[in-house]
């Protein structure tokens, strides 16, 4: 019966959310959901797109790849979503992208940075229906390696990675390659798991190696503890990281003083004078009572990209939305003016931020 009802005839446009609302990375998924919801609400308040309201249908994938596939199947076949946003991690995105591809529904992961998400590593072909809003691992890794060699004059480095996160491992890999290519030396590769509380054993070992810099591509919660404990045991060298660091929580956990002499790559700086950024930060704070982190910003931007694509698709069908995404041009978003390259990765530059007395300060901008 209702099977035939096409998205085009429906009263609402259903956009799916396949996000981590429970389980290990529930924080990320929740922030993304908030960010996206903020934008969808704005759009709906302004009359919606294509004359329809947007309904953001979010399912919890429990931070698990299998559940992500489960949720995607439901969003597509039950809820008739025309596009899906998610998941927060590369792994969970990879868990469900094949479901979307099989059903020809475009998906955008706000923060799945692994290369393989959009490009099949075996065939080297781009995955038609998969997009992302964030950097890819190589870009951030390389940018930071360059910064370490050129600006910090580092010759030796230690990698300290979240062992369960493909994101962290990806960044580390490209940092390593690029750093070595420029004549640097990696003294050791160490790992932790995100639930760890105590890092002192490994840090003691790292201290003994006496590197020029330590690269810690990971999310802010363990990073905060790592920075704090490094300083406690007397490691004073620069500590470097990626966009996972961006959170108002970081200085709270690590302590402002400990964070001095740390640097990380990011999409934008919440201190930047850009009006888009300013208004986003204000609106988010008004609605959710806290400063947005990267995940919230990426969720917001993903929503912008999706709405833009729906608008340009004219009929709101998944196929057309996909085409519209491919042709997205300079869409003004919080994390930059976004377009997609041939591998469905956003073309955007990175900023390098330095933490000074608990504040992010803008260091340099690196063009894509």
């Amino acid at each position: 019966g209702g099977e035939e009802k096409k998205a085009a005839d429906a009263k609402e446009i259903i956009i799916g959310g396949n996000l981590e609302l429970s389980g290990a990375v529930a924080t990320f998924g929740t922030a993304m959901k908030n960010g996206a919801q903020l934008y969808f609400d704005e759009v709906n308040a302004a009359g919606g797109v294509l004359g329809k309201q947007i309904k953001f249908e979010v399912l919890d994938n429990k931070s698990d790849a299998t559940e992500a596939a489960n949720a995607a199947t439901r969003l597509i076949t039950q809820d008739k979503a025309v596009a899906i946003m998610g998941a927060a991690t590369s792994g969970n995105t990879m868990g469900y992208m094949q479901v979307a591809t099989d059903n020809k529904v475009p998906i955008i992961t706000p923060s799945g940075t692994a290369l393989d998400v959009t490009v099949d590593p075996n065939t080297k072909k781009v995955r038609d229906y998969v997009f992302r809003t964030c950097f890819i691992d190589p870009f951030q890794g390389i940018v930071m390696a360059n910064f370490a060699t050129n600006d910090l004059k580092a010759k030796t480095a230690v990698l300290y990675v979240d062992n369960q996160s493909p994101y962290a491992k990806g960044l580390a890999q490209f940092f390593e390659e690029s750093f070595i290519k420029q004549g640097g030396q990696i003294l050791a590769k160490e790992a932790f798991v995100p639930e760890d509380q105590d890092f002192k054993a490994t840090l003691t070992k790292i201290k003994g190696l006496n590197p020029d810099v330590i690269y810690v591509p990971a999310y802010y919660e363990p990073v905060g503890k790592i920075v704090k404990q490094s300083r406690e045991i007397g490691i004073n060298v620069p500590i470097l990281g990626g966009d996972g660091w961006d959170s108002p929580k970081l200085p709270e956990i690590a302590g402002a003083a400990a964070l001095n002499n740390t640097f990380f790559t990011n999409h934008y700086s919440s201190q930047q004078d850009d009006p888009t950024i300013k208004s986003f930060v204000e609106k988010y704070q008004a609605k959710f009572g806290q400063v947005p982190d990267t995940f919230a910003a990426l969720g917001y931007d993903t929503a912008i990209l999706l709405v833009d694509a729906v608008k340009r698709s004219e009929d709101g069908t998944p196929e057309k939305i996909k085409d519209a995404l491919i042709s997205a041009k300079e869409v003004q978003a919080v994390t930059g003016k976004l377009s997609f390259d041939e591998n469905h990765n956003p073309i955007k530059g990175a900023v390098i931020l330095e933490m000074k007395d608990g504040k992010q300060t803008y260091k340099t901008y690196v063009k894509p």
Partner: protein, 293 residues
């Protein structure tokens, strides 16, 4: 050599946290024979209560700690009355599943209540780094946690083995009906056990929250698991065993990270654990008492 000692310090400091949580775990197990999987989550609730008192109400450290302990003691007793007591005569595994249920309930109702994000404590306990013999570093908080752990271990050991209520606890653990025939109130004794166990968990939660300075609703899962491992390693139900197990686990982890590959820390730690268990099937302190036939 110096690095080795530093790693030993790191291991003991990490281990004292496992031990601190394991104490309550092992005591409840010893008396009620229940693997209280919710223990790690009471630890989490304790941390949040401490956070609430210190960060929101602006209370000083000690009253906050005591409040968290008291509230969690009540929470533990309530959980026992509602979820475990009706299952006293049921198969042990039923209570275990209920405990898993309670654990999930605490985690996710807290997630709804306080949101999933991390919180950090204001700095209430001053933290001083001491440098010993040049480059050895030890912090005042590490010392505090270690001292608290040992003190609580001794206190618990005293309560369980030397006081009459402790003897009652052991009697109840062995045979509830026979204990009643001695004039012991089983309900009160078990409530007391849960109250102590839960307030210990809360104390651990507040201390660890302040020490690592980050708490979230799922923070109890891993330490809960590690503490359980520590308790088993030491011989579950045996109070000094829990402490030894915690220290051992901490030291093993530190040594593997420091001298082996941190990439393989958890697998190696577990392999060592399994080997220890194969050699000592009842844990380090457990006597492998054969059932009298």
């Amino acid at each position: 050599m110096e690095e080795f000692i530093q790693q030993l310090i790191n291991g003991i400091s990490l281990g004292s946290i496992y031990a601190l949580i394991a104490l309550g775990y092992t005591m409840v197990y010893g008396i009620v024979k229940l693997i209280n999987f919710a223990h790690g989550d009471i630890y989490m609730v304790g941390a949040y209560l401490g956070f609430f008192a210190i960060a929101i109400l602006g209370w000083p450290f000690l009253p906050s700690l005591l409040m968290a302990m008291a509230v969690c003691a009540v929470l533990g007793v309530v959980i026992e009355k509602l979820a475990y007591k009706p299952l006293r005569n049921a198969p042990r595994i039923a209570a275990l599943i209920t405990a898993i249920g309670v654990s999930l309930f605490l985690e996710y109702s807290m997630m709804l209540l306080v949101k999933p994000e991390v919180r950090s404590f204001p700095q209430v306990l001053s933290d001083v780094q001491y440098n010993l013999f040049g480059s050895l570093v030890i912090s005042s908080r590490q010392v505090i946690i270690l001292v608290v752990t040992i003190a609580l271990m001794l206190l618990l050991q005293y309560i369980v083995h030397k006081t009459m209520i402790g003897k009652a606890m052991r009697a109840v653990s062995h045979d509830k009906q026979a204990a009643q025939l001695m004039g012991i109130s089983v309900d009160n004794t078990i409530s007391f056990t849960f109250a102590i166990g839960s307030s210990l968990a809360a104390a651990a939660g507040v201390l660890v929250g302040i020490y690592y300075n980050a708490i979230n609703p799922l923070m109890g899962i891993m330490p809960g698991l590690k503490a359980f491992v520590a308790a088993v390693l030491g011989g579950i139900g045996i109070i000094p065993g829990a402490m030894a197990g915690g220290f051992l686990l901490g030291i093993v982890e530190a040594m593997v990270s420091g001298y082996g590959k941190s990439l393989y820390r958890d697998p190696v730690a577990f392999i060592i654990l399994i080997i220890i268990l194969i050699v000592k099937p009842a844990g380090l302190f457990g006597k492998n008492v054969r059932e009298k036939v």
